[in-house]
Assembly symmetry: C3
Homo-oligomer: 330 residues x 3
Amino acid sequence: MKLHDLAQAIEGDCDQPDFEITGIQSLEHAGPGDLSFALGLDYLEAVTNSRAGALLLPRDFPALDRPTIRCAQPALAMAKAVELLRPPYRPAPGIHPTASIDPGARIGPQASIGAYAVIGPGCRLGARAVIHPHAVLYPDVWAGDDLLVHAHVVIREGTRLGDGVILQPGAVVGGDGFGFTPDGDRHGKIPQVGRVVIGSRVEIQANACIDRASLAETTIGDGCKIDNLVHVGHNSRLGENVLLCAQTGLAGSTRIEENCTLAGQVGVAGHCTIGARAIITAQSGTHGDLPGGEMYSGSPAFEHGKWLRVMALLPRLPEIYQAWRKGGNK
Amino acid sequence: MKLHDLAQAIEGDCDQPDFEITGIQSLEHAGPGDLSFALGLDYLEAVTNSRAGALLLPRDFPALDRPTIRCAQPALAMAKAVELLRPPYRPAPGIHPTASIDPGARIGPQASIGAYAVIGPGCRLGARAVIHPHAVLYPDVWAGDDLLVHAHVVIREGTRLGDGVILQPGAVVGGDGFGFTPDGDRHGKIPQVGRVVIGSRVEIQANACIDRASLAETTIGDGCKIDNLVHVGHNSRLGENVLLCAQTGLAGSTRIEENCTLAGQVGVAGHCTIGARAIITAQSGTHGDLPGGEMYSGSPAFEHGKWLRVMALLPRLPEIYQAWRKGGNK
Amino acid sequence: MKLHDLAQAIEGDCDQPDFEITGIQSLEHAGPGDLSFALGLDYLEAVTNSRAGALLLPRDFPALDRPTIRCAQPALAMAKAVELLRPPYRPAPGIHPTASIDPGARIGPQASIGAYAVIGPGCRLGARAVIHPHAVLYPDVWAGDDLLVHAHVVIREGTRLGDGVILQPGAVVGGDGFGFTPDGDRHGKIPQVGRVVIGSRVEIQANACIDRASLAETTIGDGCKIDNLVHVGHNSRLGENVLLCAQTGLAGSTRIEENCTLAGQVGVAGHCTIGARAIITAQSGTHGDLPGGEMYSGSPAFEHGKWLRVMALLPRLPEIYQAWRKGGNK
């Protein structure tokens, strides 16, 4: 692919239009035929050391002695360039003869359904669905267009999904919530008969679990991205564009408003609300509400700047304690 | 269903016996034909705002202008009402033609075995087993009556399960323990040839992992409930009615005595014992034994009341430190 | 099996060569026909209480009135004895008629491929592969000899695996990394088209997730052992013989040098390097680099000895604070 054609496709400007690009790679692994990329000035040394034949750069990056494409949003342009130069694996349309599709299911045009996939009665899938081998859709799962479901995903009965939803391998949508109530000496099970409602452009990654509601709905807003091994408890509600990083857990009836980011291994207790655009840093936790627009850290979490000062002091506690006891030099 | 018939079935008293109920829903989502419920006085405002046609209430709840069922244990009564009004999905009895059942397996009456389920030689399942599509039972798995196994569950060789066990999608029972021993510069594998023994009325939720013992048994007592993504290490022993909330991890040879509750993301190190009826709050951890009957918090965990006082002080550390340095106003 | 033959096989010395061994068990569960073992003097009381017929012991263990095998490395000898006396379950070689193997896949000799396993085009497996039922290998997965893949494992396209790799049930190798970039108000997906490269003798346990790289490679060095529910983010690099205990998470582009041990529920932020032979204790976390050869604790983590002193002081903070306020007895 000529640099000029690529630049046009990703809305950038190139300086050597006839340079031939054969691949795209990270700076470290790129070779003379590859395009690579730098997102800012801190990539400068890596660019210098890279064998990449051409570079995708921000507009204000210093001049280089190699062919370049410059653009306003290099990360986004890079994502588009990858789609063109190394399109992700996608099985061909068609229905594998071993797929078990209930006659009462409706599948849109151009679907690809893999070996041993199971699609239950009452399911309705939009156009261009890709269902990899061994995915299981229980009865009455409805999805919009461009559903992409990887191997060993389970989507339980009654789930609703918008357009462009991606489920990575082993994700479980609609498992029973953890709902029990005392029954004499025992934990009596509260039937979990609500459902999960997932918006459009949501991605749920490997082995993450989104529990169905007890009676009503667990809802995941449009554009949410949920990383590996995340737990979303029953009746939780996520606003639009929430990021839940790996191994984060939401206990139940948890409300995460739009555009929040919860970093890895964060925990939020039941019935809490996290306000819009809040950021909670890794391994933090809260058992109370947190107002939006701020960054929080710690377990229990409080304001991030204050937490940094506390954590700077914490390792010094023993020496401070000794100084106090001795009444010595402060 | 008439309110009178429902009240009788769930052992409550109703005031408008002929009122017709068509569903059951949360206060927020209920409509005029729905029964909803309040578990105590803190639901009062939500009850007032709800469109629910009828309400299930504790006996001492204030009078309402709507039909009610009053009962001693409203949460338990609600669970029973859900079973009657919105019974959970359950596939019809029968064995799907694609299920791969070894001729040496014994399956009790009225079983439902789904598409592509695999049941190995020597397996014995009691009456009314429900095995959803794609569950895999390795050889020699024995279970009591009313086993309910969801899609993509794996139960490895030799596992024993009591009556009424429920396994949510993707749960793994009997995976190898994490057992290695130095072998020169390498980690030599210790074969994991023990098994998992699970009592009756145990529920293990989505993508949770219960490892087999090295030689003897990992045991899960009657009535234990294990949430999504929990890890139970090899040779652990859980007493009756233990609750392990989501993403909790038990390292190995861990002993959790009866009626303990470990909240979400708790960790317990190897060879520790947690005494009966202990409660460990979310994100806490311990590498030592904890006596029963108490509540613990922190990592490492100590008595909860003391932990609350420490945590109230922690964010103030920098200002206290500055005050001390200045010798100023305390 | 005669004690003499066993002793010879595991390179130990026995005192009653004709004693007949029928099994191997833990001290607590062993009977008169069983061999059991003690790894050191702290097992002395358990040995005395055990009904084991014979014992595997370190050379310097006190004399017993029972048949013994003494050896230099009892844990390693025990592992070998288990292999002989209770060999782990292994399905017979052969290809199940329901396995879906692409004609373009190459499978080495003596393979065992279970029911409904799916092996995509371009896959190449070495000798003696064991693929349990319902494992899914996407296209172009290459593995060395002695691959052991349990039920419901997913290995995505292009993964490379060395010799003797073991994957426990539900493990996911090669799921998309969590890579997004702002696209207007939305999170735009960065295609994840790199791969995972796994060395030899690696074991990845149940429901753990190893993400593929964005463009280049996520690499797992020879001899690494990865426990249940671990998350390894995209572009991470593990040196040889790293141990990642259960529920640990590596964010992305994380580098863990050789012979590190990360205990349970540890978290490492993106782009950090953990130096060789570092140990990070359970529930600790770091968002910075940590030099090798040391032990670290806390979140954020610092030197373990100092952390122990801080943690000993922490529960006493309220009383120290009160004493300071009162100006009283220190």
